[in-house]
Each structure stands twice: as C-alpha cells, then as structure tokens.
C-alpha cells in the first residue's frame, strides 16, 4: 500500500513489558512441546493421517475388474486383511464385516457419488471419502467387540441412516 518508507522518529521504541515478554516465551515453549508431541506420535509411533493412495473414476470404479467392483474382505496368509468399501447415498457396501481379534485391517474406501465420511467408532480410523480418491488407513484390533462405521459427512436426506458394523471375533 504505502510505498515510501515512513520516517522513523527517534522517540519511538518497541516497548514490551517484562511480564508480557515472559508470557510470549512461555507460549513458544508450549507450542514447541505440542509440536514435538504430535511429531513423535505421528512419525515415530505411527499415529498417521491419510495420505494419497490412488485416483479412481467414480463413474466406473465399482464396475469391471477392480477391487471395488467386488468390495469386502481380502485375507492374507499372515492373518491380516484388506477391506474394500464402496460408499454411496446412503449405504456402505459391505455394511457387515467380521474379522478375527488381533488382526491388522487396512481400510480402502471410496465413493461413487458425493462426499461421505468414514469414522470407525472407538478407533483412530477417521477419513473423508471423496469421489475420485481412495482413502486408506490401517488399524489393529486387539479387543473383540462390535465397532460401527458411520458416515460423518452430510451426503443427502438419509445421511443419518448411513452406517455399517464391523465385528471382531475371538
């Protein structure tokens, strides 16, 4: 806006009260501590957020040969699973899944219409489901029980009805 350098008067000084200076130092320390904590949790302990996995065409991803044309569990010899889920207004497919306790499950979720949410209750699995993208997160189930996965993004009139259930057996 103003192009010319304003004259600097000799009377001016940046006055910062000592208390306020300490407050600002404390703030910086606090923020460095927080940042360190989430960094260690994310990059050393593996609490990670989703990252780009695959681009797909929402119009064709659920037809043809790909894994989303036949969504559901894929079990591997080591006992881990891949779980492919297709979201659409207003259901997840499949909407009932059973895995064994102690198994590691990698979720791959996409949408064939609008945006949805995928939150697996009582776990850290929480993903935005965006048409054209595949959302991926991995979780290990130690405790047997049932876990609902619910749609957490408004997707139309029956959004509140959209959920599925994952059962962890002993």
């Amino acid at each position: 806006m103003s192009e010319e350098t304003p004259e600097v008067s000799a009377e001016t000084s940046l006055h910062i009260d000592p208390y306020e200076r300490n407050w600002m130092r404390l703030t910086v320390v606090l923020l460095v501590v927080f940042a360190t904590a989430v960094t260690i949790a994310g990059f050393a302990l593996g609490f990670q957020v989703p990252s780009p996995e695959e681009r797909v065409d929402p119009r064709t991803v659920a037809i043809g040969d790909g894994p989303f044309a036949d969504p559901g569990l894929r079990e591997y010899p080591d006992g881990s699973y891949d779980l492919y889920i297709v979201s659409q207004m207003f259901s997840f497919s499949p909407n009932e899944v059973t895995v064994r306790a102690g198994s590691e499950v990698t979720f791959y979720v996409t949408s064939i219409d609008v945006q949805h949410g995928f939150k697996l209750q009582n776990t850290n699995v929480n993903m935005q489901i965006v048409p054209g993208q595949v959302s991926k997160l991995t979780v290990t189930f130690d405790e047997p029980g049932t876990y609902d996965y619910i749609c957490t993004e408004y997707c139309g009139s029956a959004h509140a009805q959209m959920y599925g259930t994952l059962t962890v057996e002993k």
């Binding site: 945006q115 939150k119 965006v130 993004e153 509140a160």
Partner: protein
C-alpha cells in the same frame, strides 16, 4: 499530534452503517431460529414436520442456520462496523462513498440471489457446499456477489486510508482503523481460494458447461478460504477488544505495539494453514498436512499476545477502579454495562474455544474428533461466542449511537449476555463430549440408528443449552428492535452515546513506525502463501479430474 478526540459521523454515514446492521440483525433473527430446532431434534423433539411446506428438511434449516448466521450476519455486521472504525478512526469521511454504496448493494443483491434457492430447497448443501452435492447456480452467483461486495467495501476503506495517509504523513494509523484494514486485506487474499472454486468449477458445472467437478481440488480451494474466514469474523471482535473495550472498562490499552504486531501476524499467518481442515482428506500428502499443522500452531502465538494484552488492559482498568489483590480487579470491572459483560463473557468462552482449537490443529489428535459434534461445539465457542457475543456487545452501544437513542433495557441486556454464556457452556460442553464419544456433526442424531443409549443425557443437554441460547438471542433481537424503532427513547443532550475509543498506555505515536509500514508484511504474506500452498496447488490443479457429475440433494 493526536488531537480531535471527538468526531461526529454525518447523518448519511450513520444511516449507511445502520443499514448494514439492519441486514445483519434480520439474518441473525431468521438464521438463529434453526439452531434450537437442531438441538431439540437431538433429544427426539422434531419440529421440522410442522414447518413443511415452508422448510422441507432438517438440512434446509441447517443450511439457513449456517449461511445466515455464519456468512451473512457476520459479513454485513463486519462491513458496517469497519465502515465506522475507518471513518471515526481517521476522522474523515470515506474517500468514495459511492464505491462503498456499490459494495453494499452488491452484497444485498448477492444475499437475495442466494436466499431464493435456499428457500426453494434447491441449495440444501450447507454453508460449506462441498461438491459434488449440487446447488442451483444462483446460490453460487449469490455467494460470489456477497464476497465481491465485501471486497469493494474493503477497497473503499483502503482508498480512504491512502487519502488520510497523504494528509497525515508520519502519523500512526489509529488502531481501530488499522485493525479493520488488516481484516479486509487478509480477506481479499483469503477469498481467492473460494473465488477460484466457484468461478472455475462450480458455476460452469451448475450451468452444465462441464460434466463434473474434482471434489478434492474443490476442498483444497475451499479451505484456502475456510480457515482465514474465521479470522475475518474474529479480527473485528479483536478491534473492539483492543481499541474499544479498555476504554469501556475504564482504562487504557496495555500495549499499542503488541496489538499491531498481533494484527500483522494474523495477516501473515491466517491463510497458509488451511490443510489443517483436511487432515483426513485422501488427496493431500501427510507431509503437507504436517507443515500446515505447525503453521497453525504459530497462529496461536498472536492469539496468546491478544489474551495477555487484553487481560492486562482490563486488569489496569479494574485496579484503577479500586480492585485489590490478584483477582480483586475482576469484580470491579463494569459488569453492569452489557457491552462490557458481553465481551468479557465472550472472551472467557473463547478461552475454551482456543484450547479446543489447538486440539483440532494437532495433526493426528484431529483423527479423534474430525467431522464430529466436537467441531460444531468448538465452532459455537469461537464464531458463535467470541465473535457473535462480542458483536452483540458492540451493538449495545453502536445501535444507540447510530440511532441517537438510549438502549431500551440495559438490565435485560446484561441478563441476555449471561444467558448466552450459560446456554453456550451447557450446549458446547455437551457437543464436545458427544464428539469425543463419536457423534457425527451436521447429522439429525435423533433419527440416527447407531446412537447408544448412553448418549441421551448429552443429547438432552444440547437441547437445554439450545433453548437457553434461543431465549437469549431473541432477547437481544427484541432489545435492539425496541431501541431501533422506539420514539420514546430519544437520548437527551447528556445521554448521547460516544464511540469508545481507547487510548494506549504509551501513546500510539511512540509505536515504531515500522509497525505501520505495509510493504514488507504484504510481501511476506504472499511469499508464505506461495510456499505453503504453491506446490500442492500446482500438483492438484495439474492432476485435475472433472469426473464427479454430482447430484442435487
């Protein structure tokens, strides 16, 4: 140096500010109606069937609530209030009053254009309008015009300031004007994201010129604007907290320099951190999310400066009024002034909002609460408390000032601010707890099949809090309406309200001139945005895939 402590706005200036407020209050009155309806639905009392055929769904009501309260009430109030802080701070009329008139009426046309499709249930896409949920094209045109109108009003402020600068070389820009200018310049940069989203993708798509959209890229554009949007709401409240509240409390601003540093840091840091709203998005690399998480922490710094400076100013005021001991200054503050009590209570609620905000920004911790009721709870502590309750407090002197009236009831107004505080504590606490338990946001939980019985107590608390907030909101509207139109409340000679312009402990002219110099800060701001967003924008635009045809809900 700084003389002319009083300046009277002309009649036409007052009516120009007033008409902004009139639109803001009408939007608030209508939009607020739908808040409690959602809260009541949570405990199974659904009034929506009674509203057919006017309002056909929960989501149409929710769209009205978000658009009217979060976008329209705020934008009209802010442009009106900042018109006043520009004129009164600079002690001069607008350079081009017609330009600001054009900006204002552009916003009005946009408001009408967006409101009609919402009322016809052809834009029930909520105020985030995530594609490929599709709205009637006039919804997008309307929002565009509201934003463009606010830009034009901002240009009017900038031209006025430049003229003032020519007339007053070397004088520090008065703080209330300075904060308003920072707000509008930041807004100009920030809204480029949503402007590109709407103009290059949503309007061509809604018109049928292109077959589909790229929803991931649209989210990135949207959140480029979406986070600084909250600072667009918040900074005008900060203008009041820094440049007016100390005077209202009977004291002075503790530090003019640090107030300016905080505003500069908000300009610098508001935009380049939008990916913290997209931590769970599939199409944004984790590394960039992490960088934006750290940048989000950095914007906490000027908020902490604000907390210290504002509280220190209040403490000085309380001690000057006879307050003793560590906390004895607090009860000495003029709590019987509704404008003060509103802003003090707004500040207390914002303390909790700030803690929740740090949680939201914390990268992997965000996984616990993303897209849950926690977020709506947080939002109500920030925009619906720190901002809206402060704006109510400002209105309690601003409307009497503009209309030459006494406030209809100060006592009623003080009670109103406390009801907002109590209602919001109950409502937002319940929403935060529900979010931690896994309740999704923006969902009619009363009809969701997966709700465990244990949640019912918290759902009931949202309804109780919502009911209290509804009473409080309409007490505010009623008080303002009575003041606005009453013929009996004309203020006598000694009763005229003055604009509360706070002096600072060290006169503003002692603040370093560098803190009134725009060029380096603007260069830094643009550079930081390019670093934080450039690579991902190039990548996502380069891989654009318009393959989502979408549906109108």
């Amino acid at each position: 140096m700084l003389t002319t402590p009083t300046y009277e706005l002309t009649k036409s200036e007052k009516s120009f500010v007033s008409i902004h407020l009139l639109f803001a209050f009408v939007a608030l009155a209508i939009g607020t109606l739908f808040g409690p309806l959602q809260a009541f639905e949570f405990s199974g009392v659904d009034f929506y069937p009674l509203l057919e055929p006017v309002i056909q769904s929960y989501y149409q009501g929710l769209t009205l609530h978000g658009v009217l309260n979060a976008l329209i009430f705020t934008t009209f109030f802010i442009t009106g209030f900042l018109t006043l802080t520009t004129i009164y701070g600079l002690k001069r009329p607008l350079k081009y009053p017609l330009l600001n008139q054009i900006g204002f009426w552009t916003m009005v046309v946009g408001l009408v254009m967006a409101a009609v499709p919402i009322l016809l249930n052809q834009a029930s896409v909520l105020y985030t309008f995530y594609p490929p949920l599709k709205a009637n094209v006039f919804f997008y045109f309307g929002l565009t015009l509201v934003v463009v109108g606010s830009w034009i009003e901002g240009y009017g402020f900038i031209f006025t300031w430049r003229e003032w600068r020519k007339e007053n070389p070397g004088v520090r820009t008065p703080l209330m004007t300075f904060g308003g200018l920072i707000t509008m310049v930041m807004w100009q940069l920030a809204t480029l994201g949503v402007a590109v989203e709407i103009l290059t993708m949503l309007i061509p798509w809604a018109l049928g010129w292109i077959d589909g959209v790229d929803p991931q890229l649209a989210r990135t554009y949207f959140w480029f604007t979406g986070h600084p949007l909250v600072y667009f709401w918040l900074l005008p409240a900060y203008v009041s907290w820094y440049a007016m509240l100390p005077k209202q409390a009977g004291g002075k601003l503790f530090s003019d320099s640090l107030a300016r540093i905080a505003f500069w840091l908000f300009l610098l840091l508001s935009v380049p951190l939008g990916f913290h709203h997209q931590f769970v998005d599939p199409g944004v690399p984790a590394g960039w999310k992490y960088i934006h998480a750290v940048l989000t922490y950095s914007v906490f710094f000027p908020s902490m400066i604000t907390a210290f400076t504002v509280i220190a100013s209040l403490e000085r005021a309380g001690r000057a009024r006879g307050g003793k001991g560590w906390l004895g200054w607090i009860p000495k503050l003029p709590w019987n002034d509704p404008s003060v009590s509103a802003q003090l209570l707004a500040g207390i609620l914002f303390f909790f909002g700030g803690i929740g905000g740090i949680t939201n920004a914390s990268y992997n911790i965000n996984l616990v609460i993303h897209n849950t009721a926690w977020v709506s709870g947080h939002f109500h502590l920030t925009v619906a408390s720190a901002v809206a309750l402060s704006f109510m407090g400002i209105s309690y002197w601003l409307v009497p000032y503009l209309r030459g009236k006494r406030l209809w009831s100060r006592k009623w107004a003080v009670i109103q601010t406390w009801l907002w505080f109590v209602g919001m504590l109950i409502f937002s606490n319940a929403m935060h707890v529900l979010g931690l338990l896994g309740a999704p946001r923006r969902t009619p939980l009363g009809e969701a099949p997966y709700i465990p019985e244990e949640w019912s107590g918290h759902l009931l608390r949202t309804s109780i809090g919502g009911a209290i907030l509804m009473v409080s909101a309409y007490m505010f509207i009623y008080n303002i309406a009575r003041t606005w139109w009453s013929k009996k409340l004309n203020a006598g000679p000694g009763e005229l309200v003055e604009i509360p312009a706070a002096e600072s402990v060290h006169p503003a002219q002692q603040t370093p001139a560098k803190l009134d110099w725009w060029t380096p800060w603007l260069i830094g701001t643009v550079a930081l945005i390019l670093v934080a967003y450039g690579p991902q924008l190039i990548e996502q635009i380069g891989n654009i895939d318009l393959s989502s045809p979408g549906v109108m809900p």
